[in-house]
Amino acid sequence: MFFRIIQRDLLLAMRRRADVLTTLFFFIIVVSLFPLGVGPEINMLRTMAPGVVWVAALLASMLSLGRMFSSDYLDGTLEQMLLSPQSLPLLVLGKALAHWLVTGVPLVLMAPVLGIQYDLPGEALLVLTASLLLGTPVLSLIGAIGAALTLGLRGGGVLVSLLVLPLYIPVLIFGAGAVEASAAGLGAGAHMSLLGAFLLASLVLAPWTAAISLRISME
């Protein structure tokens, strides 16, 4: 069932390609605006690159959070998910992973190309991409909790950012920090381990918390 849900969400995303592309183009444009605004000061661009790419990834991933449950909520599919004999946390995990595949993976693939705009050296590009690969699933998983809590609320979009952005801070610090640490010659190992730990913890806790939030929101 877990794979059926992923398959279904990917199929729906394929039929609504505009939604997927909006997120990706948002990411590309935000990252590209900074060099234009700051000017061609190469050293400065290099130092700010990881932070800018990571903040843009946070915002882009948040942009699409509202859609994670709301369309299923509006047409009644979510009720059926809650009444399914299958485990709800597993269904939520499937939806969060589908969200990551649709919004997170394109960002990860795009990041090295955008990093070139900031004249990042090869090794830094590699670390940046790896940190995004570990970090973006965490964003989708934590985001699922926020999306579940704000389901059906008016102005839920703003509320979800207030709820979720503070929780994204550790991911941002260690994700962007990984690139800086490797540039400083300290090695990105420690930061990557922490990102991996965040990923494992959120894989276990987030689906379960989001499932409880969904039950509360649907009462």
Partner: protein, 206 residues
């Protein structure tokens, strides 16, 4: 087959009490029609019966055990069809039916889904995305689930809304067959409809 029981159920919405002290007991082959004017709490009662909402007071038992305690085991024996059809606009009728059946724990193959949709009068429209179907046709896609599920208890909220007379007959036939095989149906409807069942009870809400 277990019995569905409601004991002293009451429902509060905001500071308004919709109903109180509702008692009923539904056995195999039994049909319960819930009646009442708009806003009398029919949908709220049905949502309680399927476990989506918690009663303000009282308890609902399935086979003697509280449905909260049964959790997934209860969901596996019950089919709920609400106001919202749970039909996805971007999926075809056949995809919709197969996914909703899988979600309900009873995977079906393409052929079976095809047959069910054909029986519901959607032959030739199985491969159209649901967004081009009419309101009544979408409802038929949702109701096709009743043909392929193997659950004992059906909880149907206004199943006949938006259906034409031919489809009403079809659904009526489905329910009668289900009841004859010992299933149970709890439903609300504003239409006058005669369904033959071993035991029919009416529940009147204020």
């Amino acid at each position: 087959m277990p019995t569905l029981q409601g004991n002293n159920l009451s429902c509060v919405r905001g500071d308004r009490r919709l109903f109180r002290d509702i008692n009923f007991s539904l056995d195999a082959g039994g049909l319960m029609q819930v009646h009442g004017p708009n806003g009398s709490g029919k949908t709220s009662l049905l949502r309680m019966l399927c476990g989506l909402a918690t009663p303000a007071q009282g308890e609902i038992r399935w086979g003697g055990t509280e449905i909260r305690a049964l959790g997934g085991n209860y969901f596996g024996t019950m089919t709920y069809l609400g106001h919202l059809s749970a039909v996805k606009d971007d999926l075809t009728a056949i995809e919709n039916l197969r996914i909703s059946s899988a979600l309900a724990g009873a995977e079906i193959d393409e052929r079976k889904a095809h047959e069910a949709l054909q029986h519901m009068g959607l032959g030739g429209r199985e491969l159209l995305p649901a967004k081009v179907l009419s309101q009544g046709q979408r409802r038929r896609v949702a109701l096709a689930r009743l043909m392929v599920c193997r659950t004992e208890l059906w909880i149907l909220d206004e199943p006949l809304a938006a259906l034409d007379t031919h489809a009403v007959k079809l659904v009526q036939g489905l329910m009668e067959r289900h009841l004859k095989h010992g299933g149970m149906v709890v439903m609300t409807t504003h239409q006058e409809i005669e369904i033959t069942a071993a035991a029919t009870q009416r529940l009147q809400l204020a």
